[in-house]
Amino acid sequence: MDVPVSYYVVLSGIVFSIGLVGVLIRRNIIIILLSVELMLNATNINFVAFSSYLGNLSGQVFVFFALTVAAAEVAVGLAIIIALYRHSASINIDDFRLLKW
């Protein structure tokens, strides 16, 4: 393994930052959720890289669970979005006026 683990950390850091920025600057809920997925993927990269370098499988197990959770989250999230859309025909978070953001 001639790629130092720190490369992976930097990579995941970049992806995580991009995801974070995405959550903050986008207004479309779908894109915000995609950005969250970016963040989760950054996490996964971290876990797998560390797991591989430390020779410790529990990191990979963690990723497995994170994936499961991500799937569940998406299912619920999209259900919410659909329900929301039925009410307001918009998924732009700035359009939610009933509650102050």
Binding site: T43, S51, W101
Partner: protein
């Protein structure tokens, strides 16, 4: 491969609760629609059984599943609290759901599943279990927040809760991943060993710590990670709001404290100032913004933010360096006490908001409370007591909570923090009293006068009775609860 029977016995309460949740889901379709209450009663029964089982957990420490979960007094304390809160929530919901026309039996299953998540959180000793517990709880709550599907507000609340919840989970998870890289484990004890030793100055570890704090900051709604709270509390069905405000907060605090102390107990200087800053900002902002609210649920949301700030004092004390271990554990026990008391009063306040809904009023604007004392003396009086208690004025339990947590602060030589907290407690009295003011000092409009009917179902009466009993009795005889918190305090890893 054999089933780890001993381990399964350890998590018997969790199993029972999950089993009950599944049973509800199965029984729901074959239960006639008028008989859904039966399912709620069954859930309550299970909670009672679990409480009996958990009661035996006090005083012993059983590690199960290879150190992924532990059943100790600390966990037992929180579990008892959570059973109570969940039970009261179920009782409160039984008539509220009918009123709101969202009478779904799944609701009770959700309460139980969220409870299971919280139980996993409080007894998890591995970041993996804690994370999964958080997610189980959060996902359930996202759904519950949106259960009043016919109302756009509820769905919006759900969406906001979801977006920020997922975001915060992502941050938390990233922190965990970095920590895993530094320490090679997600087990709290193993993390602690590395963090105390070779990695105590590791910048990556600090980054991970920061991210974990931010992640939990969202869950306990500490400023500046609170922005979801008011919207979600306002939009969600009131019974769900009560559940969220009380149970999820308690569980998050429990897990937060355990992570900080058991994993990062050796590097207290690295996080106590951060928590202190959070605590100060949370108390200040929560109370100040609450003043301008016109919606009771929003106001209570900000009040709950502020209360999270007070509770954070407990963590600050627990993490303060240069004090006796004894003093640190005072911080923990006072936090536990505070949250237990907070549960009663907040639940009571939300229960009142929920039953006001019944008079045909929305019951959410402060104006809707106008002249309540004339329309419904008992209700007004209960609300009065809850408000006084939230403001921390004796002889209610709210005072006892504040007293102990501030005692801990003073004991840790953080008297200035106690003064600060009290100043804001005085400010908070202003908005709590406003509710008292409109209830007692304004006359109801003729229209409101007509709506004197506050049909209290027996179940809600029980909830209110429990809440008021908690608020008053704990205010007058806090002794047993205090001893219980002292007994179930988390054993702290040695301070370096």
């Amino acid at each position: 491969m054999t089933l780890p029977l001993a381990d399964l016995v350890t998590i018997l309460p969790e199993l029972l609760i999950v089993g009950m949740a599944c049973l509800i889901l199965v029984l729901d379709p074959i239960t006639p629609s008028g008989k859904k209450d039966f399912l709620a009663w069954m859930s309550l029964g299970i909670l009672g059984v679990c409480a009996l089982i958990t009661m035996t957990d006090f005083g012993e420490t059983v590690v199960a599943f290879g150190g992924l979960v532990v059943v100790d007094s600390y966990a037992a304390f929180w579990k008892m609290l959570l059973y109570l809160v969940s039970g009261l929530t179920i009782l409160l919901s039984m008539s509220y759901l009918k009123e709101e026309k969202i009478e779904l039996a799944e609701y009770y299953a959700f309460v139980l599943l969220a409870l299971a998540g919280m139980m996993v959180m409080v007894s998890g000793t591995d970041l993996l279990t804690i994370y999964l517990g958080i997610e189980l709880m959060s996902i359930t709550l996202y759904i519950m927040a949106g259960l009043k599907r016919s109302e756009a507000r509820s769905i919006e609340a759900s969406a906001k809760y979801f977006v920020l919840g997922a975001f915060s989970s992502g941050i938390l998870l990233y922190g965990i991943s970095l920590l895993f890289g530094v320490t090679g484990s997600t087990r709290l004890s193993e993390i602690s060993a590395v963090v105390n030793g070779p990695a105590s100055e590791d910048p990556l570890m600090l980054l991970a710590l920061m991210l974990i704090i931010v992640g939990f900051g969202f869950k306990v709604a500490a400023v500046p990670f609170h922005m979801w709270t008011p919207d979600v509390y306002e939009g969600a069905p009131t019974s769900v709001t009560a559940f969220m405000a009380v149970a999820s907060k308690a569980a998050s605090f429990a897990a937060f404290l355990r992570v900080l102390l058991e994993a990062f107990g050796g590097v207290k200087p690295n996080w106590n100032v951060l928590i202190l800053a959070l605590c100060v900002v949370t108390i200040a902002l929560g109370n100040l913004v609450a003043i301008v609210q016109t919606n009771v649920k929003r106001m209570l949301a900000y009040s709950s933010i502020a209360h999270a700030g007070y509770a954070l004092i407990g963590i600050v004390v627990a993490g303060w360096v240069g004090i006796d271990p004894d003093v640190s554990s005072r911080g923990i026990s006072s936090l536990m006490l505070y949250l237990a008391i907070y549960s009663f009063m907040t639940l009571g306040a939300f229960a009142m908001v929920a039953i006001l809904r019944k008079g045909g009023l929305e019951g959410e604007n402060i104006e809707d409370f106008t002249g309540l004392a004339k329309r419904h003396k008992g209700g007004a009086f209960l609300m009065l007591v809850f408000m006084i208690s939230l403001a921390g004025i004796p002889p209610t339990a709210g005072f006892i909570g504040k007293f102990y947590i501030l005692m801990a602060a003073v004991n840790a030589e953080l008297a200035w923090l106690a003064i600060f907290a009290l100043i804001f407690a005085a400010i908070s009295a202003f908005y709590y009293l406003r509710i008292v003011m409109v209830m007692y000092m304004r006359d109801p409009s003729p229209e409101q006068e007509k709506n004197t009917r506050l049909t209290l179902s027996p179940q809600v009466s029980v909830v209110l009775a429990c809440a008021i009993a908690g608020v008053v009795l704990l205010g007058v005889f806090p002794g047993p609860l205090v001893s219980l918190t002292d007994l179930s305090v988390l054993s702290i890893s040695p301070v370096r």
